[in-house]
Symmetry: C2
Subunit: 195 residues, 2 copies
DNA sequence: TAAAAGTCTTAAACTAGTTCATTTTTTTTC
DNA sequence: GAAAAAAAATGAACTAGTTTAAGACTTTTA
């Protein structure tokens, strides 16, 4: 089996057991996508037709507000799922951009194949039930932290939770994720490092 | 069928079709709970054994930070699901309190019955897949808004999105949800009403 | 490999939101 | 239905985070 297919099967197999036939069927519903650093995987205004699994690389998912200030909602690296779930499901235009911050390789599943997947291998209802349950738990936590912690506390949390990601992204993008200006991010980092 | 059971079956039937037998089976896994205004449904430190569906009433789900300041993560009213999903799933102690802000009636499902439900009626994998998917979409949006909007914008959004809930909760609790002090909430409301 | 473009740092003036203290209004309780 | 308790309003002094601007450092591109 190809390396990329092995990776996604390992990811899925954390929650459900698949037969060899089911694995083959699943893989047949996926497509390989490559994006170079600084290229877009998708842009605001489009209706998202795919969900993505990252084999290799790093991408940022973000919106632009009226002032043109970017607000980063996630960094996606190896073994992560990404996309714009809202647009993918509701078929409304997305407000998100997804841009590669490193040359990246992904596997995509189209909306048509996603629907087909549940018909053909109902076990995937369970896989996505658990995947969404876990994402939900972490977003519930994050939406509270965004409101209740100071920027410095959010930075310290991020550093503790994603020590590998922090070394792969710019300070400016980190500021866009934490929800502050790059200038204030710079101050926080030099303060925290001094402590 | 009892009124409360009819309500929860209607809720579930939005996403999956159940036979009469399956409906009976499902209902047999639920328990009715009543809490009076100001009483707790659960408190921080406990391991959450239940998820709840609200038949009637209103409850607030919140944490207390080190200073004792409450941060409200949701208001649950009729036809909502609530609980602490993280503690329910991981069996770790909860950091949340759930307190009734009105006399309330709920249906609860225990963790044991929740697991049993998937074995006995696998269709429920689909129900929860869709339920969590929708919650995830709204939490992703909320965690971005928490970081990118001003308090005034968050208040206006809340008012537009939950016009019925806003009349049932105190200004103080709303402040705890928006993530600001009651004093500043008061200022925002009088400013927005003046506009 | 030089120039251009982007990132990071620092600092001063500013604004959104907090804190603390007091008064008024509303709700709860006996 | 009076007294007590809680919620809401207001204002002054404060702090976390923004804005603007300018210079130093790093990465990208021709």
């Amino acid at each position: 089996m190809e390396y990329s297919h092995k990776l996604i099967i390992d990811n899925v197999s954390r929650f459900i057991d698949l037969t060899e036939l089911e694995k083959q069927k699943y893989i047949s519903l996926l497509t390989t996508v490559r994006v170079k650093k600084k290229e877009f995987l998708m842009q605001a205004g489009e209706i998202t037709k795919y969900e993505y699994f990252i084999i290799k690389g790093c991408l940022k998912v973000y919106t632009l507000d009226e002032d043109g200030t970017p607000h980063i909602s996630m960094f996606a690296v190896e073994d992560y799922w990404t996309g714009d779930l809202a647009s993918f499901i509701t078929k409304e235009p997305s407000r998100y951009f997804i841009k590669a911050t490193e040359d990246s390789e992904l596997l995509s599943i189209s909306r048509v194949n996603y629907d087909l997947l549940f018909q053909e291998i109902p076990k995937f209802e369970r896989f996505y039930r658990i995947l969404y349950q876990r994402s939900l738990i972490s977003y519930i936590r994050r939406s509270n932290h965004g409101i209740s912690l100071t920027a410095e506390e959010r930075y310290i949390e991020f550093k503790k939770k994603y020590p590998k990601i922090i070394n792969r992204i710019s300070q400016k993008d980190l500021a866009g994720y934490i929800g502050i200006t790059p200038e204030f991010m710079s101050k926080i980092i030099s303060k925290v490092n001094r402590m």
